[in-house]
Symmetry: C2
Subunit: 356 residues, 2 copies
Amino acid sequence: MRSPDTIHIDGFGLCPLPITEHDTVQLSHGSGGKMMSRLIQDLFVWAFDNPELKRLDDCATLVMKEGSVSMSTDSFVVDPIFFPGGNIGELAVNGTVNDVAMSGARPLYLSVGMILEEGLPLSDLREIVISMRRAADRAGVTIVTGDTKVVNKGKGDKVFINTTGLGVIEHNFTIGSGCLKSGDVIIVSGSIADHGMAILSKREGLQFETPIASDTAPLNGLVESMLEAGGEAIHALRDPTRGGVAATLNEFAIASEVQIDIREETLPIKPPVSGACEFLGLDPLYVANEGKLIASVSPHAAQDVLAAMNGHEFGRDATIIGSVVDGRAGLVIMQTRIGGWRIVDTLVGEQLPRIC
Amino acid sequence: MRSPDTIHIDGFGLCPLPITEHDTVQLSHGSGGKMMSRLIQDLFVWAFDNPELKRLDDCATLVMKEGSVSMSTDSFVVDPIFFPGGNIGELAVNGTVNDVAMSGARPLYLSVGMILEEGLPLSDLREIVISMRRAADRAGVTIVTGDTKVVNKGKGDKVFINTTGLGVIEHNFTIGSGCLKSGDVIIVSGSIADHGMAILSKREGLQFETPIASDTAPLNGLVESMLEAGGEAIHALRDPTRGGVAATLNEFAIASEVQIDIREETLPIKPPVSGACEFLGLDPLYVANEGKLIASVSPHAAQDVLAAMNGHEFGRDATIIGSVVDGRAGLVIMQTRIGGWRIVDTLVGEQLPRIC
């Protein structure tokens, strides 16, 4: 018997579940007995610590004000589970916080559903769970209810995490992919393709001079600043995850029956990401982001919204990349660096599976 | 090329996604491109059909009245995915409907997160999705938002489904596992151990004279009838899934710091289930149920609540199995058929993995 790992985790104190470096998830951790109770009590409830979770009922009771509630769900199956700039737990919190925020809602509550593969080191699970708590704190949301399942070795892949988020909509106009108007300005909140290239470089063991890190971040604070500055001049918000900027712009153009024109030279791309994309033959427009948003904003408010974004830590490099025009409904075109125009279509599949 | 399956599914008409018997889920179905859009539009939106989903934004906007909202999440990894009495889709809807209902809330909305394994026959997925819609209709809930991920063959197991549910609490008292009172009557809504034994017999290829079917069912209607009859005399409700009746009673006894006494001869068990348990050496108290609830009810209202349950299709065989007594906090004991008493503890692990 090795002695359990008793290292204090900064800010979290001692985990009541003793974990040695050889302890792993077992089928009985998901089977409704004492081992499951202990995992939930001594790891999840310890890390997520809040009164709603402590009741250990199968559901959380939340007091909501009258009004519109935004609900979003996402399952995370990213491979590898630890990557430069984050891990699957942080990604699962930020991803759903962002989906809720893109309706202009203020995210408040998250549920967490874990599907663990037998054999996952418990120390990895602990690290993921602590990251989730830190990410939740950073985004100002509470993890109020959860569920844990364990599947046999070889029937899952380490850990899959579903998060479902609830937020409140505190304004009385609609923000949505179907609300773009001709004349709108298209803004991206920062450099594109960071997350996808970080995952890919880790997965393929590629080394670049400047390491590429995921941009995973909660965008609800940025959205709040934008709403304060622009209000109902903000017509649509979306985080360009799977399928990248291209997929989001196409969704916008199709849902709103408008044409979107963008200019290649305005797209913010970090040099190492651009280099890696070129090296691997990938188009950064199609590579996933996890801490960026695209906004369609009425032209009269665009400069105010942009200034508000530039004043926020996650919008410092926000920039205008194009505009909504009368033209062919559903079309996205890009003026290339050399001045020609190309159609920015969505791909049939995608370049990179299991990116989030 | 085989021609796609053009069979009309009763009540659903023709699925716009043409599916031949050899079509399977591919990685590109989860990658944010056209194949994913088509799967979502032509299968999920077709089957779940509602205006909120049709907007295809990453989140649903729900109008809620002021008050308490109940939120619950559950991931389903049951193996096999099709079993006597149901399939993983129906189970995923009923399971979360039930968790929400156990707080006394009226379930209204569900999110669905699918993790599909590459190679899953699309016809199986269609059958599961249609079952989910039927189960949602039966329970009176709407599937308002969703997410689809695909993992490589061998990194998942056909399909895992997370459902997260929202309901409204329309009464002003608390129902919870910590609310049992000495003197309460313990009621079970019907025969126990059906679901677990149905899964096990299918998984192990066991054949019994009378086939054993899962009891998967939505219990929100039953809970409504009980609340009408008993109101705040209903102290606790729980569906005894993983860990069975034993786990639920132990959770009650621990959370409320009471002792619970039950009588073996009052436990409703169908003869084939009882026979199968005996044959396999399993104790039905520990076997999962998916369409049953256990209630702790004040004695003055117990007969009224029981009568209301017996008048409901999912409570016809409801019966009193025990009572809450002063005694040792956290203890559950059972008077056996021969008159002795035994402690009903929770197991360390459980008898059956991947039961739900």
